[in-house]
């Protein structure tokens, strides 16, 4: 199939060795796949460097600046984390669905609905204004997850019952979600005609590190919020479910061969709905944590495409929930760098190139290259 043979002389010049691409007949070792991901990132950074250089910049200085402005001090590291939190949760949402080969492209919409569900608790209001903070956190988180899950349920149900392609339905649901939110911030909850709701009262904010500055002075001015905890706990739970549980086994089996799963007596439609519910709930939790942890009001521009970046993160992490956390931090840094690097398109470009390198490099998981010394005929 993939028989690229370089035995033919190239432009009259004979190479002293033969290169042959052949399909792998044994599984590559465990470290191989993560190593390829790392290589993909390095290649992407090199291509980015080339672009910067062609544009007249100095690549290494730019990268050094990006690194400094993302990881250089406790303060910027905290900012990186703040950017990474929604990515972690959304990346987990995508990874979970992708494990079953359920292409949930709708994390963006589920994120918006999660934000809506959380805001509703404050703005409707569901809880009285003076309710204690812990009540707000729990109820807002649950409500955010519920609304995200609902937004995931619709395409899940359509897929399970009528075999509607989930890629299209989840994608379309994103646009509905944005307009749904717009209706509320333009009309219902608008603050004096501006396209945003009022600022939430402080007891509806997620606790930040800076809230504990009196006890631990290092935390002064650090905006990393409780969403980080949500993300880490979610990642651990998801990892347990996927790699240890019977449900995780069902999901992996369906993902690899739905017909085999059916034959083993596993209900595909039930799992499609359940997985979309969980995936939507995670993306909804991302929306809630962004609203309650960072923005503190419902407004239009709450996501620079987190839901879509989550897809890239899921792939880069090879759909491993624990790896999602690390990859999200890298992407948080790239987003943060966007405001430091001019032109700010460069980090986005790197993200795109990473994605393409990743897809391309998967070739080496399935194939190997054999180099043999050319024997003189």
């Amino acid at each position: 199939m993939t028989q690229a043979d370089s035995t033919k002389p190239i432009m009259g010049f004979k190479l002293p060795f033969k290169m042959k691409v052949e399909p792998r007949v044994v599984d590559p070792p465990r470290w191989y796949s993560p190593m390829l991901s790392v290589i993909a990132v390095v290649v992407a950074l090199m291509i980015g460097a080339l672009v910067i250089w062609l544009g007249g910049g100095e690549p290494w200085k730019v990268y050094a600046h990006i690194a400094r402005s993302s990881f250089g001090s406790v303060g910027v590291l905290s900012d990186t984390m703040v950017k990474a939190i929604p990515l972690m949760l959304v990346g987990l949402a995508c990874s979970f669905a992708f494990r079953m080969r359920l292409w949930n492209i709708g994390a963006e919409g589920q994120f918006f609905l999660g934000a809506f569900g959380a805001s509703m608790i404050v703005l409707l209001p569901v809880l009285p204004e003076e309710a204690p903070k812990w009540q707000f956190i729990i109820v807002m988180a649950l409500s955010g997850m519920l609304f995200g899950a609902l937004w995931g349920f619709v395409p899940g149900f359509l897929k399970a019952k009528f075999n509607v392609n989930e890629i299209i339905s989840t994608l379309m649901m994103n646009y509905i979600a944005v307009e749904w939110n717009n209706f509320f911030i333009y009309a219902v909850w608008t603050e004096g005609g501006f396209q945003m709701s009022r600022m939430f009262q402080r007891n509806a904010w997620l606790p930040r590190l800076s809230d504990f500055a009196e006890a631990i002075p290092v935390f002064r001015g650090l905006t990393t919020h409780m969403g980080l905890l949500f993300a880490i706990v979610a990642a651990i739970i998801l990892w347990l479910v996927l790699s240890k549980s019977q449900w995780g086994y069902e999901i992996r089996l369906i993902g690899d061969n739905p017909r085999a799963a059916e034959y083993a007596g596993i209900s595909i439609s039930k799992n499609v709905i359940l997985v979309m519910l969980v995936s939507g709930a995670l993306a909804g939790l991302a929306g809630m944590s962004e609203i309650a942890g960072v923005v503190h009001r419902l407004q239009g521009a709450i996501s620079p495409g987190y839901g879509y970046t989550g897809i890239i993160i899921a792939w880069l992490a090879k759909l491993n929930p624990l790896a999602v956390i690390l990859v999200s931090i890298l992407f948080g840094a790239l987003i943060l760098a966007g405001r430091e690097v001019q032109p700010s398109g460069v980090p986005t470009l790197i993200q795109g190139v990473i994605m393409v390198s990743l897809i391309a490099i998967d070739f080496f998981l399935r194939n190997r290259i054999r180099i043999t010394r050319r024997v003189e005929e």
Partner: protein
């Protein structure tokens, strides 16, 4: 060779001499000679794996032979692709059609040609194709979309494709395997009309009565070697052909202990179900299988066998009738309910249904046990237990893998079947439904699979063996049912191959017996 230069007395359109084709581990064609005259139907007869298709794939340019010469119209040719072959006037109609379902007949015929260039001029080509179709009696509407056509009509489109490209030699690879009897008649008419107009046809088959009916001469292959070349059909009998094809007078029987059949395990009453297209596939099937019994189900592919297997395990909805397993009604129950009752299925398709290719051997063998102790514990899968279990099966069934962590996509067909058998047999099934369990395996593996099935029988399992290989059915089964167009034609216990053959072509047992008495 000097004989190639001599002019032939009778016009041989094709001559193949000393064809050798090797595949890893198999010598598919060993010094095979073949010739085809203008205007004849030449049957190529042989069992599955005898090398018929390989030989014709060489002629059609799909394979390059490792040795030998191909001469077309007295010229030595060296095809490197099917395109070369069709340019030389040789076209092949494969078993699996290569058509685009959403496009029309005409569009499919034109696909890949240089004409028309830019504008399609469909009406003009519709007329042209209708003309060719009329000439040979190939009834098909050129404007119809492929998905609207029956299998028989689709086959006509494939033939049309070849005729439109100017094929003088048409290779038909088991053309009747997918056809209904009335369509077979239609096809034979077309073939006769084509030979009358000077075309030559290679008819690949392993069905004796069809070969006797349609062909002028026959060449028999057995295990890659020609056992008899170019016999005029008038000079042979069916029995002669059977002997030449199988190579031994009597059907080979596997050593089989006597087991007294016990209670009825599977009882199917008047079962009805549809196929994937929503057409009736099972029209009232009734059968019984007892403990300690292998019951065969014979039939030409596509007469409802796969639908029956799926219906019995709960993968396909039952529209009428009942399925009883061990006195429990399992009609339209979830698949898992059947599994719990001890129903086990060895699916025909090992890679598409039987296994998950990218999961490990361990994950594949626990497919039906992952939620039961000791492997399933609470909400978890106990990885230690699962690996231990997989390692035990690897030993017991001699599955050749370095470790049980290996992805099953890297396994050979025989090993993959061992994985499936290990999983199914170790669940100690009360009822085992085995669909084509030895298809595509080499001789050693086939024997292993058959031995495992018989061991199950000795342990008192009820086995329903669904197979298209009559020899295997007869040697393993205690009784054989014959299915035809979704109905059971009858049952034989004495392995009377003559009767089975007649039932497979749609004659009911009662009718056969009446004829016998008359």
């Amino acid at each position: 060779m000097d004989q190639t230069n001599k002019p032939n007395e009778i016009t041989n359109v094709v001559r193949m001499q000393g064809i050798v084709k090797r595949f890893p581990g198999v010598l598919a064609n060993n010094q095979v000679d073949f010739e085809l005259r203008r205007g004849e139907v030449h049957a190529l007869l042989g069992e599955n794996g005898a090398g018929k298709s390989t030989l014709m794939n060489v002629l059609a340019g799909l394979y390059r032979p490792d040795g030998g010469t191909v001469i077309v119209n007295d010229k030595v040719v060296n095809f490197s692709s099917p395109r070369d072959a069709i340019n030389a006037g040789i076209g092949m109609v494969h078993q699996h059609f290569m058509l685009v379902p959403s496009q029309s007949v005409t569009e499919n015929v034109l696909l890949g040609l240089d004409e028309p260039r830019f504008r399609m001029h469909l009406p003009r080509y519709n007329r042209k194709i209708a003309e060719i179709a009329g000439q040979y009696g190939l009834h098909v509407d050129p404007a119809a979309k492929i998905w609207q056509l029956s299998v028989g009509e689709q086959q006509r489109v494939e033939i049309l494709k070849m005729l439109y490209r100017g094929a003088d030699v048409l290779i038909m690879d088991e053309p009747t395997a997918v056809l209904a009897p009335s369509e077979i008649e239609e096809l034979f008419k077309t073939l006769r009309s084509m030979t009358a107009q000077g075309k030559s046809i290679v008819f690949i088959s392993h069905k004796l009565h069809e070969v006797m009916e349609i062909s002028d001469r026959v060449t028999v292959l057995q295990k890659g070697v020609v056992t008899s070349a170019c016999l005029p059909i008038s000079s042979v009998t069916r029995a002669d052909l059977a002997r030449l094809m199988v190579g031994r007078e009597v059907v080979f029987r596997v050593e089989k202990k006597h087991v007294e059949p016990g209670e009825v395990v599977l009882s199917v009453k008047d079962l009805q179900a549809d196929n994937d297209k929503g057409l009736p596939a099972l029209r009232g099937v009734s059968l019984d299988v007892r403990e300690g019994e292998v019951v065969g189900l014979a039939g030409v592919a596509g007469n409802g066998q796969s639908e029956l297997a799926e219906t019995l395990v709960g993968l396909r909805p039952v529209l009428g009738g009942k399925v009883i397993v061990n006195q429990k009604d399992v009609t339209n129950k979830p698949v898992k309910f059947g599994i719990r009752q001890g129903v086990s299925l060895i699916p025909a398709d090992r890679t598409q249904v039987g296994t998950a290719p990218n999961l490990s051997v361990t994950d594949n063998v626990i497919m039906k046990k992952y939620d039961q102790a000791p492997i399933g514990q609470g909400w978890m899968v106990n990885a230690l237990e699962a690996n231990k279990y997989a390692a035990e099966l690897k030993e017991a069934y001699d599955i050749m893998v370095p470790t049980v962590d290996t992805s099953v996509r890297l396994l050979s067909g025989g090993n993959l079947q061992k994985v499936i058998l290990a999983r199914e047999i170790s669940s100690e099934p009360k009822l085992m439904i085995a669909v084509q369990p030895t298809r595509g395996l080499d001789v050693g593996a086939i024997e292993g699979v058959q031995r495992l099935l018989l061991a199950q029988r000795a342990d008192g399992a009820a086995i329903l063996l669904i197979s298209e290989e009559l020899e295997e059915l007869l040697s393993l089964s205690d009784r054989v049912y014959v299915i035809y167009e979704g109905g059971i034609m009858g049952e034989v216990a004495d392995g009377d191959i003559e009767k089975i053959g007649q039932m497979m072509t749609g004659t009911r047992l009662e009718q056969i017996e009446m004829q016998g008495e008359a």
